[in-house]
């Protein structure tokens, strides 16, 4: 097993090198921009452009240099942490001594998908021969009574199908206090003492048993490791949008991940799932308080994962990111709108981190992770501002013309100066920073036969990469507008709820797309129109941006179609290794989903009439307290007409064994009366 701790040398120098490269390149690019802008002295607007440019460039320069580091290490075949030719994925799976809990927190999710994923992961762990060291927990915070009933039934069926009784557990929490972090924390507080480590999954996660066992082995080998995060690969969706995103993240993600792992070393980050955590360390250091004040910036911490990683590190435990561990999968939203909705939640969580930056005794890199999380969303309004200001400067110059003489007496005119060399250099640098990481990944993939074939071969890979670039160019302005709106609304005090993420291939209707994107399209058309009218020479520069905005509606509708995604697949676009050669766990997930596809799931009303469901539900209920008057009333109404109850009443009724028994007794009496 890989020994991480004594080999993560020179963290200071690695970070120093990264800082030098990022700051140096940002300073150089900003100087170039200053030269281009300030040939005839700098106006206020130009000064603002320069400032925003510096911040924005620094942001992308960090990713660029991480990609460079990733490229160099990958070419040399070196591990990003130990810098040796080794990998955590090498060698036989270890024989484990410690016990690990696999946790899947869920909240009103697609029940079939949850249990199909869990069953696939369970079988995969079983195949390693080390199942005895693992227990699996479904931690439900579900509030929808129909889904609650379905979860219980599906859990029971899964236990029977897998022979997993006494190893696969289900727990339902009556109130989802603290959201996902609270859900996990509740388990840690009640059950955590029995397990050395816990693997946290998301509702759409699937992991190979081999990877899980290796993670547990790494925790045994590295006793100061608090968290080991894997690189979760996006897979399994079939809409065009999702296939594009899966391809992009699969092709470009690993390189960046290796580069980041190189400079993060033992101060890595945690992404909330597909990671292993040392339970006692987590309990001792990761209890999250509520932030003072109200949401969106106060209250419960939404993006808890970054904060938990920072707290774990503060407690003296290392947080590692090991991208070489494969067999870690997640699913992504299938269309632009669902993707943006998820980002809205993340934006609020990440902006909350601005309030945690000053927390006592946090490691500098942990603070940087949080600052980067903030900047991930703040970068969008900055880019927007930069683009607007640039357009404004150009239009202003076009309208006012060049001022040959300043107010007052001037002996000589100020001739307009252009710096074509610096302009071209700036363009080249910016393009390099944006596109070279993609080219590095392409070179790496094309360079290895197995890798190349896993993406469908050189031809398919190259044309997919070109299509990906076009799609990225069109989508980026829309996401910029979404993110900008999120940042402004959050700062204006608007909070977001905690809705479950749609996890199926959802097509977007024209009406829904129009509702979401009309403003974006109007902004694009107006922007393009003004530039066309006043400074037509500048139109080419803003064309990719305004085109993306103007085409947002058809782009969203078209890209959300499964048919379009599959047609592109048939045409040889966006193939990924998960499509060309799915791993065993992904294959098992597919089989499980197929098995469950036609199976109907029970609902609340059936609990009252189906004694098998009722018995199962009663067996799962811890609450045997007497029911109050309101509950008895609900029970009697439910016995007459179950659908007459509001969701909150149904949930309360399901939560009380006494009230439920009363409802069933009443129903039985009514049946007997009718029979009499």
């Amino acid at each position: 097993m890989l020994h991480l701790e004594p080999k993560a040398k020179w963290a200071f120098w690695r970070r120093g090198l990264m800082a030098l490269l990022v700051l140096g390149s940002t300073a150089g690019a900003t100087w170039l921009m200053g030269v281009v802008l300030g040939t005839n002295s700098l106006t206020f607007a130009e000064g603002a452009v320069l400032t925003v440019f510096a911040v924005s460039f620094g942001w992308i320069a960090l990713s660029f240099w991480a990609a460079v580091a990733g490229f160099v290490l990958s070419m040399l075949g070196r591990h990003p942490v130990t810098l040796r030719c080794e990998s955590a994925a090498d060698g036989a799976v270890p024989a484990l001594r410690t016990r690990t809990a696999v946790l899947m927190p869920i909240y009103n999710e697609d029940t079939r998908r949850v249990f199909a994923g869990l069953a696939a992961t369970y079988r995969s762990v079983e195949a390693t021969g080390q199942l005895a060291q693992f227990d699996f927990f479904v931690l439900s915070d579900t509030t929808d009574p129909d889904i609650w009933v379905a979860e219980e039934a599906q859990w029971h069926d899964t236990c029977r199908a897998l022979g997993a009784g006494g190893r696969l557990f289900y727990r339902h929490r009556a109130a989802n206090v603290g959201r996902k972090a609270g859900n996990i924390a509740e388990w840690v507080r009640t059950q955590g003492g029995a397990y050395e480590t816990m693997v946290v999954l998301d509702a759409d996660s699937v992991m190979e048993g081999d990877t899980i066992v290796r993670l547990a082995g790494l925790m045994e080998t590295n006793p100061k490791a608090g968290i080991i995060q894997t690189l979760a690969i996006a897979a399994n969706r079939t809409t065009l949008f999702a296939r594009w995103l899966q391809f992009a993240s699969r092709l470009y993600g690993p390189l960046l991940a290796v580069g980041h792992s190189f400079w993060w070393v033992g101060e890595g980050n945690y992404y909330g799932h597909n990671a292993i955590i040392r339970t006692r360390a987590f309990a001792a250091h990761c209890g999250l308080p509520k932030l003072p004040g109200k949401a969106p910036l106060g209250g419960e911490i939404m993006s808890h994962d970054f904060v938990e990683a920072a707290c774990m590190r503060r407690g003296g435990w290392h947080v590692w990111f090991l991208p070489e561990l494969r067999g870690s999968y997640e699913e992504i939203p299938s269309n632009i709108i669902d993707y943006a909705v998820r980002d809205r939640r993340w934006a609020q969580g990440n902006l909350q981190h601005a309030r945690i930056l000053k927390a006592p005794r946090l490691h500098g890199v942990s603070r940087l992770h949080m600052a980067m999380g903030v900047l991930a969303f703040v970068a969008s309004p900055l880019w927007l501002l930069l683009l607007f200001l640039s357009s404004y400067v150009v239009i202003q110059q076009a309208l006012a013309g060049h001022a040959y003489f300043l107010p007052g007496y001037n002996l000589f005119p100020i001739w307009p100066e252009y710096r074509p060399l610096e302009s071209q250099a700036l363009l080249a640098v910016t393009a390099a920073v944006l596109f070279l990481p993609k080219i590095f990944s392409l070179v790496l993939t094309l360079g290895g036969r197995a890798r190349r074939v896993s993406f469908g071969g050189a031809g398919r890979l190259l044309r997919s990469a070109v299509a990906e670039m076009v799609f990225s160019l069109l989508l980026a302005p829309v996401m910029m507008l979404f993110h900008s709106k999120f940042v402004f609304t959050i700062l204006a005090g608007s909070s977001v709820g905690w809705a479950s993420q749609p996890r199926d291939d959802r097509g977007i209707t024209w009406l829904e797309a129009a509702r979401r994107h009309t403003v974006h399209s109007l902004i694009g058309l107006a922007w393009g129109g003004v530039v066309f009218w006043y400074a037509i020479d500048f139109l080419w520069w803003v064309a990719p941006i305004v085109l993306g905005m103007a085409l947002a509606i058809p782009l969203n509708v078209f890209s959300s179609r499964t048919g379009a995604g599959l047609a592109m697949q048939r045409g040889g676009f966006f193939w990924t290794p998960e499509e060309t050669a799915p791993s065993p766990a992904l294959r098992m997930l597919g089989e499980e989903l197929k098995r469950l596809e036609d199976r109907s799931l029970p609902s609340f009303a059936q609990v009252l009439s189906d004694r098998r469901l009722a018995a199962l539900h009663m067996a799962m209920l811890p609450d045997r307290a007497p029911a109050d008057h309101a509950l008895i009333d609900s029970a009697e109404r439910a016995a007459i007409r179950a659908d007459s109850l509001a969701p909150v009443e149904r949930r309360a009724l399901l939560g009380s064994a006494t009230a439920l028994e009363h409802a069933m007794r009443t129903l039985e009496q009514r049946r007997l009366q009718r029979a009499a």
Binding site: D135, F137, H156, C159, R160, G163, G165, G166, F169, R171, A185, V188, R189, T190, Q191, G192, G193, A194, Y195, T279, R280, F282, A283, A284, H285, C286, G287, L288, P289, L291, V307, C311, R314, I356, A359, P360, R611, R612, A615, L616, M618, A619, M620, E668
Partner: protein, 141 residues
């Protein structure tokens, strides 16, 4: 059916009430065939007869208590290392395996067969494992 549960003659009126109560209680365990239903009702009736004959002659209660005793005995007979499973869990499992149709002879049986035990065990909804609490104090941020 075990020999210790011999049927005892009881007054007809009490037996009828008990039989109705026992039938209702047995419904919660699934739809037994008529023959098995009759035998089980007789068994519960016999176990409840003495209590039902006492004032206030509450047949429902007597039948329920008698069945509870029989069930507790059955749960003990089925018990594994971790002790007897809760009756609710046994009922859920018995219904899940369609025990009333597939294993009527095993219901309330003092020495349940191995095949039945295995089938039942597979369907038994297990509660969470015994608690292993950890302190998780809130951290300053």
């Amino acid at each position: 059916m075990s020999p210790e549960d011999d049927l005892t003659p009881i007054p007809t009126i009490i037996a009828k009430r008990l039989a109705i109560a026992a039938e209702r209680l047995l419904m919660a365990w699934g739809a037994f065939e008529a023959d098995w239903q009759r035998r089980l009702v007789e068994r519960i009736t016999a176990a409840a007869a003495e209590a039902a004959a006492q004032p206030p002659r509450d047949a429902d209660r007597a039948a329920r208590e008698a069945l509870d005793i029989l069930l507790a005995r059955w749960a003990s007979a089925l018990a594994e290392d971790a002790g007897p499973a809760p009756i609710d869990a046994l009922r859920a499992a018995f219904l899940a395996i369609d025990g009333a149709r597939c294993w009527p002879d095993q219901f309330l049986e003092a020495r349940p067969g191995q095949d039945f035990r295995q089938d039942l065990r597979r369907a038994l909804p297990r509660p969470l494992p015994a608690g292993a609490p950890l302190e998780m104090p809130e951290q300053p941020l």
